[in-house]
């Protein structure tokens, strides 16, 4: 993991920034969200992929791509969470 972080920090940073931006937007976005059922399915899928990655069942290059995708996705989610939280605070402060 450390190795991947040092080797790919550029890509990881990009996905984090993408996450931040998406999170920032998501708070004020008026479009349709993902339904609860779909979200559950997606969470299940993500869990399955994480499990596949941790158990090393996917071999060779596909295994590497899976790891890479999951790390990018994890940082994206983290970026989203931070972005949304910051936007929420930015919106709530002037009201207070």
């Amino acid at each position: 993991m450390t190795y991947l972080a040092t080797f790919h920090w550029g890509w990881l940073l990009a996905s984090l920034l993408l996450g931040l931006a998406m999170g920032w937007i998501a708070v004020v976005h008026r479009g349709q969200g993902v339904s609860k059922t779909t979200a559950r399915w997606l969470a299940g899928l993500a869990a399955a992929l994480v499990a596949a990655s941790l158990t090393h069942v996917v071999p060779g290059r596909f295994g590497y791509w899976l790891d890479l995708g999951l790390i990018l996705f994890a940082l994206y989610l983290a970026g989203c969470a931070v972005g949304s939280w910051l936007r929420d605070r930015a919106l709530s402060r002037p009201r207070a």
């Binding site: 993902v34 090393h56 590497y64 791509w65 890479l68 996705f73 989610l77």
Partner: protein, 467 residues
């Protein structure tokens, strides 16, 4: 917290550029990542001794195949690759180098090429052997047919290096090391090569032994040629050392009646046992021939030439081999020279006088046993007696004045008798000869000097005309 769930339902649009980002990252990073992992895995194995190491990286997974020289080495090699940061899985295809039983190593050479074959324990030792072979066999192409195997005996490298040294002393041949047993075969380059190799093999490391040493040396050749025209006897070839050299030249001087000894002998090691004991009687036999060649090759003595008369040929053919040390072979090719033209009594007397002027019939001191060194002279006397077959001859024995007169008288008689017996044995009619002893009554020189005494001790052949 509740807000986070609400917002998260709207995070999905960002996954589309994220997927694009992922694809680009995968596209660009896979090959550099694999190269980096391969470089660092190989670096981790730099100090590990392996044969046929092969590494294939797919993603972060490494397929690692290699032949290791011990189970510990194999495990530690796999562990080092597993410990490389970034490596996810190691597909372990390592195995142990096959064990050779028996562990056979060989070195074979001919004039132009040396081939190292069989098993070698470690790459480093294999390279050392090849370097030693190249250095030791200067100018000879060295071919490497060695495999790497486990199971070498302890101190294998020392033994193999010693044997490589020995193969340098061969013209062609093969050295095989099977576990701790050494076998050698081939032809030594020099006369003493076989002995030099045998001596060097005593330094084999502990535990190694010689199973077979069939190294042959070039034949040890000694030759003597009696040339009746040039009146020389030419000695060529080898003698074991300077003492034997001097002894052989002295013997030749005594045994050959008139011939000048031309000494072209060289001293060299590698002589077969009993060399001098075979060569000395063989030279005596050569001296009895009118012309002939003596070739001593290892333990085979070949004597060819012409004897002066039939009985001498028979004696040499049958007698010489008996004088040889055990294991020596005698191959006579003796023919008989055609008899010379008959001569009359006065010429006959002249021929006897000439022969006895050149050499004397010698006896053991104080006894009537003829010295074998006088055989050549006696044969010539016999031949001369055959040329004048009608005349009778008095064999006159003389002594010096030392000792009692009665003893000298008796000795001179017995010596004359011994010479007569020799002539009769050679096939001459006994009634032609009259042995007579004169004791010291007819001196030729002074009995006061050694020279004079030597002149007085003699056998004379006196032709009796008209009887």
């Amino acid at each position: 917290m509740h807000g986070l769930f609400r917002w998260s339902s709207k995070w999905w649009p960002g996954t589309i550029p994220l997927a694009a980002l992922w694809a680009i990252a995968a596209w660009n990073s896979t090959l550099p990542l694999e190269t980096d992992l391969a470089t660092r895995s190989n670096a981790a194995l730099r100090d590990t001794v392996l044969d046929k190491a092969r590494m294939v990286v797919a993603g972060r997974d490494v397929t690692f195949a290699a032949d290791a020289f011990s189970e510990d080495g194999r495990r530690s090699a796999v562990a080092s690759v597993e410990a490389v940061p970034g490596v996810r899985l190691v597909d372990d295809q390592t195995r142990l180098v096959p064990e050779a039983k028996p562990f056979v190593w060989s070195a074979e050479r001919d004039v132009a090429r040396a081939t190292l074959g069989g098993s070698s324990p470690l790459p480093a030792i294999k390279n050392r052997l090849l370097e030693a072979a190249r250095a030791g066999l200067g100018g000879v192409e060295v071919v490497d047919r060695m495999n790497l195997s486990r199971g070498a005996p302890p101190r294998f490298d020392n033994a193999a290096l010693l044997l490589l040294d020995q193969i340098g002393k061969l013209k062609d041949g093969k050295v095989t090391l099977s576990d701790t047993k050494v076998s050698l075969s081939g032809m030594a380059r020099d006369l003493g090569g076989r002995e030099a190799i045998a001596a060097a093999l005593k330094n084999l490391p502990e535990g190694f032994s010689i199973a077979a040493n069939e190294v042959k040396a070039p034949p040890y050749v000694f030759q003597a040629y009696k040339d009746p025209v040039a009146v020389t006897v030419t000695l060529t070839g080898y003698v074991p050392d300077n003492n034997v050299h001097a002894a052989i030249v002295t013997t030749a001087g005594r045994k050959f009646l008139r011939e000048k000894v031309v000494d072209n002998l060289k001293a060299s090691v590698g002589a077969p046992a009993g060399f001098a004991n075979a060569v000395v009687p063989a030279l005596g036999a050569l001296a009895r021939l009118s012309t002939g060649t003596l070739v001593v090759s290892d333990r085979e003595v070949k004597l060819s030439g012409d004897a002066l008369y039939e009985a001498a040929a028979v004696q040499i053919r049958a007698g010489l081999g008996k004088d040889f040390p055990q294991g020596w072979q005698f191959k006579p090719e003796i023919s008989v020279r055609p008899p010379a033209a008959p001569v009359d009594a006065s010429v006959c007397q002249q021929l006897f006088a000439d022969l006895l002027a050149k050499g004397k019939i010698r006896f053991e001191s104080g006894r009537a046993t003829i010295d074998p060194d006088s055989m050549a002279l006696l044969d010539r006397l016999v031949e001369t007696a055959m040329r004048c077959s009608t005349v009778n001859i008095e064999i006159a024995g003389h002594t010096d004045a030392d000792g009692e007169a009665a003893f000298n008288q008796d000795l001179s008689e017995r010596r004359a008798q011994a010479v007569t017996e020799y002539l009769v044995k050679a096939g001459l009619a006994a009634n032609r000869f009259t042995p007579i002893g004169y004791g010291s009554t007819q001196p030729l020189g002074s009995n006061d000097t050694d020279e004079g005494k030597a002149q007085n001790r003699r056998i004379d052949f006196v032709v009796r005309k008209g009887e």
